[in-house]
């Protein structure tokens, strides 16, 4: 034992390290193999869980059933549309795109659309008929407490309700700015906040974020409206679940 411990023989040193490395590699390869599936599951789940919130119930993997379209406006951003199927029937479409006009840059949104292009309503706030829209901000860097208020849908738990499961637990939490898009249908004029001369509400101190959200939401809805038939065609099961590029 001691001989090994104090050895200075280069060969032995090298071999020892090699053996240790091999064992480690073997073990890691085994673990990597084990976790391969769970990790991919986890990844798709992340997209799907967002989609689940904006789409009606589906039984396919909408993360895989998607199509990328260039937006209808001048900027020409990518808009990704996901198709939700139930019994191989297209039941809902969600669009995903970004706006670069957020206070701190990129804001990414996923918007659930009805087949006719209006923005979905996923439910109503408890006991009221105020709708909750299918608009979800999936990525943003806005100022916490300011721009983030406009973007985030979070259900604040408090000590008083921490054990209570909310009645609307399966709905996304309400957010008045995002919810005002419920049932809107894109027209010719882009949606704008009051401050920009439009009609949408905004949060004082976070006008820029509000504007950006209006922009991205309109982009998705508008792109869908103008490319509607192609998108629907691409997302119906006959399209064989292949990702397609649709030229506008």
């Amino acid at each position: 034992m001691n001989k090994l411990k104090n050895t200075e023989n280069i060969l032995i040193l090298g071999l020892f390290l090699g053996v240790i490395g091999s064992i480690a590699a073997l073990a890691l390869a085994y673990i990597a193999d084990l976790t391969k599936q769970p990790i991919t599951d986890m990844k798709t789940q992340a997209v799907n869980s967002a989609l689940r919130q904006v789409l009606p119930e589906f039984d396919n993997d909408p993360g895989q059933n998607r199509v990328v379209v260039k937006s209808a406006d001048k900027q020409g951003y990518d808009v990704i549309f996901y198709g939700a199927l139930r019994n191989k029937q297209l039941v809902g479409i969600a669009g995903q795109s970004v706006s670069l006009k957020g206070y701190s840059g990129k804001i990414q949104a996923i918007v659930g659309l009805k087949p006719d292009g209006t923005i979905r309503t996923v439910g109503t706030i408890n006991n009221t008929n105020k709708p909750i829209s299918a608009v979800l901000i999936t990525e943003h860097k806005e100022t916490p407490g300011l721009g983030a208020v406009v973007c985030d849908r979070v259900r604040k738990k408090t000590i008083f309700n921490m054990f209570k499961t909310a009645d609307d637990a399966n709905l996304p939490p309400p957010n008045p700015i995002l919810d005002q898009f419920a049932d809107l249908k894109p027209g010719k004029i882009p949606w704008k906040t009051v401050k920009e001369g439009g009609t949408l509400k905004y949060v004082t101190g976070a006008t820029i974020s509000s504007n950006a959200i209006a922009e991205v939401t309109y982009r998705i809805a508008n792109t869908f409206a103008s490319e509607r038939s192609k998108i629907i065609a691409a997302l119906t099961p006959a399209a064989n679940n292949v990702i397609k590029e649709v030229k506008p």
Binding site: L4, K5, L17, I20, M42, K157, I159, F160
Partner: protein, 228 residues
């Protein structure tokens, strides 16, 4: 008795964060709330316990010269394992929050420090307990720090609002500057307690001026020469 000490040492007397000031990066980065602190802590415990155990097992056959590289390989393997497991099974939000700090456990001085200072000299049981104790001390500090930051920021703990009247969220404690400042105040609190105790016993107490990073012999990795 010894075993108990092995376990409790890391909890308070040699607490890796508050006393030895080790592993400051994850301490500051991931403690934006109690949950993240806890998550990071648990990940570190996994690595610490595993590597301590394995290193203790092979301690008698590792050639002295390549001791540190061997330890590093062992530790890195455990970190990879934990990383993969977290990616597979931990909630995505936690994974996002911990970000690159899971891979960085590999260079956390506590892990190699314990390997070198303890596991390479003691039997597997004691090494295991030591790793567990140190890890729990680390976890505890991270969780408390995360809790304090979260509470100061929004009056909640583990994302549950504790003070409901707290309407305006304060971003300072959760921000990067806040992390430094609140940890600084933590240390000041520790110093205050230690000073008081020292005064009572008629001793002098000198607040830690530097890091306990000499506990980690990472710098010695394959060290051949000493500047004379």
């Amino acid at each position: 008795m010894n075993l108990l000490q092995d376990f409790t040492r890391g909890l308070w007397k040699e607490n890796p964060i508050l006393v030895l000031l080790l592993g400051m990066c994850p301490t500051l980065a991931v403690t934006t709330n109690a949950t993240n602190g806890l998550g990071m802590g648990v990940a570190t415990v996994g690595v610490l316990v595993g590597s301590n155990l394995v290193i203790s097992l092979i301690r008698n056959i590792v050639p002295k010269k390549i001791r540190i590289p061997v330890y590093i390989v062992v530790i890195a393997s455990f970190v990879t394992a934990v990383d993969l497991l977290m990616k597979a099974y931990a909630p995505p939000a936690l994974n996002d929050a911990l970000g690159i700090f899971i891979p960085l456990i590999v260079v956390n001085c506590i892990v190699l420090g314990r390997a070198e200072a303890f596991a390479s000299k003691h039997n597997p049981l004691r090494s295991l307990l030591d790793g567990l104790g140190m890890g729990l001390g680390f976890t505890l500090s991270l969780t408390v720090l995360g809790g304090v930051r979260e509470f100061l920021g929004s009056g909640s703990l583990f994302q549950i609002k504790v003070i409901t009247a707290w309407t305006e969220e304060c971003m300072l404690p959760v921000s990067a500057p806040g992390a430094f400042i609140i940890l600084g105040c933590f240390l000041a609190g520790m110093n205050y307690l230690n000073i008081r105790r020292a005064v009572k016993r008629g001793e002098v107490y000198i607040p830690p001026q530097g890091l306990g990073c000499h506990h980690c012999r990472l710098c010695d990795i394959g060290k051949i020469t000493e500047d004379s």
